[in-house]
């Protein structure tokens, strides 16, 4: 094996993993559609995503997957048939595992071929040239962690889905949860509320954990600035008032030290006097007109 072939090995690994995943996805889709080969068209965006290394095409592929799961034969004129949620189906799990593997492989492939640090938006926008991840850094454990992790995710997701489908919220009881058959009547609302609750709980717990850790690990200079910022926020209005008075005092002092009536100031005063006189005159005329209307002679 030449050096260049060895260098391109990791790309090929991820390429093969992604292609294998797509084959598995295709098999599942074919089995669901009863052998309709047209469903294979859904794989086109997936391949385009690989060839062009576009970020958007895999998302199109995801939408196609969702579509083909609702309408397995692609016929949108037939209403989908509601079915009871079934859990831990091997076909579903294999499908999900394959699809997720495809996405992860694609992103890692893109990091190796195009850029691992894409230009981001906002203040973090980087001007540096996009460079791919160096091939020499790839370790063999990556693949093991990838497959192991994804299997665990699919299993955990199945467990969560089982919980979401089987638990209902009943605020009249304590604890406010019902299990299994009792939950079926309000299934969709329950799922939504449970999902929101689950996500909220996880986010808050993790957010608090990382926030605490962040505070605890602050560097002395940053910690000092944190305290300074807090003190400034608490006293901002008073300090602002003080500074404004100070600035006013400085201005007065400077003016008194170098008082020199300027032509511009004189023009302003004259203009103000003329404008005020005109306003008075116009007001007087307007009032006269209004009084003439209200009290005709």
């Amino acid at each position: 094996m030449t050096e260049s072939q060895a260098a391109s090995q990791p790309y090929r690994d991820y390429l093969f993993i992604a292609v294998a995943s797509l084959v598995l996805v295709a098999l599942v889709l074919l089995s669901k559609s009863g052998g309709n080969l047209l469903v294979l068209l859904a794989l086109i965006p997936a391949f385009v995503g690989f060839i062009t290394r576009s970020t958007f095409m895999p998302m199109v592929f995801l939408v196609m997957l969702v579509f083909l799961n609702i309408f397995p034969d692609g016929n949108v004129f037939v209403s989908p048939i509601p079915s009871d949620a079934k859990h831990f189906r091997i076909v579903d799990m294999a499908f999900v595992l394959a699809a997720t593997t495809y996405f992860v492989s694609l992103f890692r492939f893109k990091s190796l071929k195009t850029a691992i640090l894409p230009a981001t938006t906002g203040s973090e926008k980087t001007t540096q040239e996009e460079r791919p991840r160096q091939v020499s850094e790839i370790e063999t454990e990556e693949y093991a962690y990838l497959f192991g992790g994804l299997l665990a995710f699919v299993f955990m997701a199945s467990l969560v889905w089982l919980s979401l489908s089987s638990i209902a919220i009943d605020p009249t009881q304590f604890p406010p949860f019902l299990w299994a058959d009792d939950a079926r009547e309000r299934r969709q609302t329950n799922r939504f509320l449970l999902l929101v609750g689950l996500l909220g709980t996880v986010t808050i717990v993790l957010g608090l954990l990382f926030s605490y850790w962040r505070h605890q690990r602050l560097m002395p200079a940053v910690a000092r600035q944190y305290l300074l910022d807090t003190a400034w926020r608490e006293n901002r209005r008073e300090l602002n008032r003080l500074e404004l008075w100070r600035a006013w005092g400085r201005g007065q002092l400077a003016a008194s030290e170098s008082f020199r009536p300027r032509f511009r100031t004189l023009v302003k005063i004259a203009a103000f006097v003329i404008a005020f006189g005109l306003a008075l005159l116009l007001g007087r005329i307007a009032l006269g007109l209004i009084l003439d209307i209200l009290y005709p002679r």
Partner: protein
């Protein structure tokens, strides 16, 4: 931070999850399962990324070394390649699967692109070394601020940038003696004195005959010129030339006006090059060299000597002078903030985060009480007090009755009654909301973040933050100091509205005159004064300097004035073109003025007895040395 790729992925995964759980889960389990798996994967990546950022990213340590020939050195030399070695150590407990280390480069160096970067992974407790070579191009200081560390997950969904600030400054000395400062080997006169000894046309104890004079009692008999005595029939005595060392004193102008110029071509850089080469050439000839550096804060003096340590001391003083940036004389707070903010964002990203540098909603609100519009508002709010007057009430009622349709009179009456209040509220609202609009909001935000950063750096009280927010002068002063520390050049406005040069410094002449007079008072036999100063702007006010030059010449010493020619002004006048454009005209006027200033200064300095040389940006140091050498030896040539 989520990357663009990450945002797309999050959006579609979350949509799939939501649609699957709320709606599509009724038809198939695969979709919610897919959504949950994708979101779970993303959450896991995020969790691990955060964990690694805290456990490893925040615990990186950076060490820097400057190496030359494999040894760590405290300074570099112009034109000599130097290796920068960066060692990043991960003292944390987690590993980083991918990091990119980008060393922030100092200015005035030559470097092939992209060698100051390294992509690698970093295990817990491990270290990586980044080495690259750079070549300093001009004397001064190399300031290394630190290195930027980019961290990402393997899929490129999350990204973090941090800056390991470990500022280090290294002096860049002028080039050491090579062909520019070799000791002379060419023989110019038949009687070449030994190195370090120069002939002085005064009676002394050298070897060369200076003159003959009549014998005076006490003259040594061996000095009697017998042949001449026989010819004249009077005893004649030989007078011998004096042999003395030449003492050269350099007067280097390091004031603000000498630091202005295009990067790398400021007069001070040229002075340092020439002074360094002259010092080494003189010491190579065993001459004594002293130096006086002129600054706004006062002059710094080194007495003449010729040891190696003395030369290094001179070079160090010159280097420190060359590293100073010009102090801007007139600056706009907004302009300074626009320059300072990108530097702060790059070097102190952790101190600009909203977590430690907040920008509350009220910061952007413009209180009407701070403006004159408040009187209008109070006036409007006070108008309803007129309703206590029955006459006003009757007037309003009549207006309502006249202009409103029947049955809706009260509506018009009510509207007229509350109209001033509504107008006042509108005024207050419009005035306040303007602070949230761009570009004012951007300006406020930048200013607040910088103010907090500066106050934090100075370990100051919170009131300083407000002062920097409200006081333009204080803010500008502090921001320009910040930029000065980080070697960032600000655009300089040379002339004010009246056309006066802001950087003109007449005190410099007084300082220079005092320095020369002081040296003159300590002078011995054979002194050479070399003045390296920017005098073009002061060409009309040279009288004190001319007096001093005359005094120097009266004591039989030599003085050479080296004046820099501005790098951005051509040596020839621009040809007049038709049609004449305004820009060309201004340029021509400025060029003509510079030429006239030079001619005027040159004429008066030469008349006073000084030798004037123009330091062009393209002159090589060797050329200047040759010309100087001719000038130094010409006066002893018979």
């Amino acid at each position: 931070v989520l990357t663009g790729r990450g945002w797309w992925f999050l959006f579609f995964a979350a949509t799939t999850l939501l649609a699957g759980v709320v709606w599509l889960g009724a038809f198939t389990s695969a979709i919610p399962l897919l959504g949950l798996t994708l979101c779970g994967y993303l959450a896991w990546e995020w969790f691990f990324f955060q964990y690694r950022a805290r456990a490893a990213g925040d615990r990186l340590r950076l060490d820097r070394e400057l190496l030359q020939v494999g040894r760590a050195v405290p300074s570099a030399w112009v034109g000599s390649p130097v290796t920068v070695r960066l060692t990043i150590t991960n003292t944390g407990r987690a590993s980083l699967p991918f990091i990119r280390i980008v060393d922030r480069l100092p200015s005035d160096i030559a470097l092939s692109p992209e060698v100051n970067q390294l992509d690698t992974s970093l295990a817990a407790g491990g270290r990586v070394v980044l080495e690259y070579t750079l070549t300093p191009t001009s004397p001064g200081q190399l300031r290394f601020e630190g290195a930027t560390i980019h961290t990402a997950d393997l899929a490129g969904l999350f990204y973090r940038r941090q800056f390991l600030a470990v500022p280090r400054e290294y002096l860049v000395m002028p080039p050491l003696a090579d062909h520019d400062a070799r000791r002379r080997t060419t023989k110019r006169f038949n009687a070449l004195p030994p190195p370090g000894i120069h002939r002085l046309r005064r009676p002394g104890s050298g070897d060369e005959l200076l003159d003959l004079r009549e014998y005076r009692p006490g003259d040594p008999p061996k000095m009697i010129a017998w042949k001449a005595s026989a010819r004249r029939d009077v005893l004649m005595t030989k007078e011998i030339e004096s042999d003395v060392p030449v003492r050269m004193v350099l007067f280097v102008d390091a004031t603000n006006s000498a630091r202005i110029g295009p990067p790398g071509f400021a007069p001070i850089r040229r002075f340092v090059d020439v002074a360094s080469a002259m010092t080494q050439a003189a010491v190579g000839n065993r001459d004594l060299v002293g130096m006086q550096i002129l600054r706004e804060s006062g002059s710094e003096t080194l007495a003449p000597a010729r040891t190696k340590i003395h030369v290094l001391r001179i070079l160090k003083m010159l280097t420190v002078s060359a590293s100073e940036l010009p102090q801007p004389q007139a600056l706009d707070a907004e302009l300074t903030a626009r320059f300072a903010f990108p530097v702060a964002s790059e070097l102190y990203p952790d101190r600009l985060q909203s977590f430690v540098n907040s920008r509350p909603f009220g910061l952007f609100w413009l209180p009407i009480s701070d403006s004159r519009w408040q009187y209008v508002m109070w006036g409007l709010l006070g108008l309803p007090t007129l309703f206590f007057s029955p006459w006003i009430l009757e007037l309003l009622a009549n207006i309502s009755a006249t202009f409103a349709p029947a049955g809706k009179t009260w509506m018009l009456f009510f509207g007229l009654s509350i109209a001033p209040g509504v107008l006042a509220i509108l005024l207050w609202l419009l005035h306040g909301v303007r602070g949230f609009l761009q570009p004012r909001a951007g300006r406020t935000s930048r200013r607040k973040q910088l103010a907090m950063l500066f106050a934090g750096q100075d370990a100051a009280e919170p009131i300083l933050v407000e002062r920097y927010l409200n006081d333009d002068v204080e803010f500008t002063r502090r921001a320009s100091r910040f930029l000065h520390v980080h070697h960032v050049r600000l655009p300089l406005a040379m002339y004010d509205r009246d056309g006066t040069n802001r950087y003109r410094n007449p005190e410099k002449l007084t300082q220079l005159t005092h320095a020369i007079t002081r040296s003159l008072s300590l002078a011995r036999d054979n002194e050479l004064y070399v003045v390296l100063a920017e005098l073009l702007e002061l060409s009309q006010e040279l009288e004190p300097l001319l007096k001093t030059i005359r005094a120097v010449r009266a004591r039989h010493h030599a003085i050479i004035v080296l004046m820099p020619w501005p790098a951005d002004v051509p040596r020839e006048m621009l040809p007049e073109t038709e049609p004449l454009k305004l820009g060309t005209l201004v340029k021509q006027v400025l060029i003509r003025r510079t030429h006239e200033q030079y001619q005027h200064a040159r004429q008066h300095l030469v008349q006073a007895g000084a030798t004037v040389m123009l330091l062009d940006a393209t002159d090589s140091v060797q050329l200047v040395l040759d010309r100087l050498d001719r000038l130094r030896t010409a006066r002893v040539r018979r």
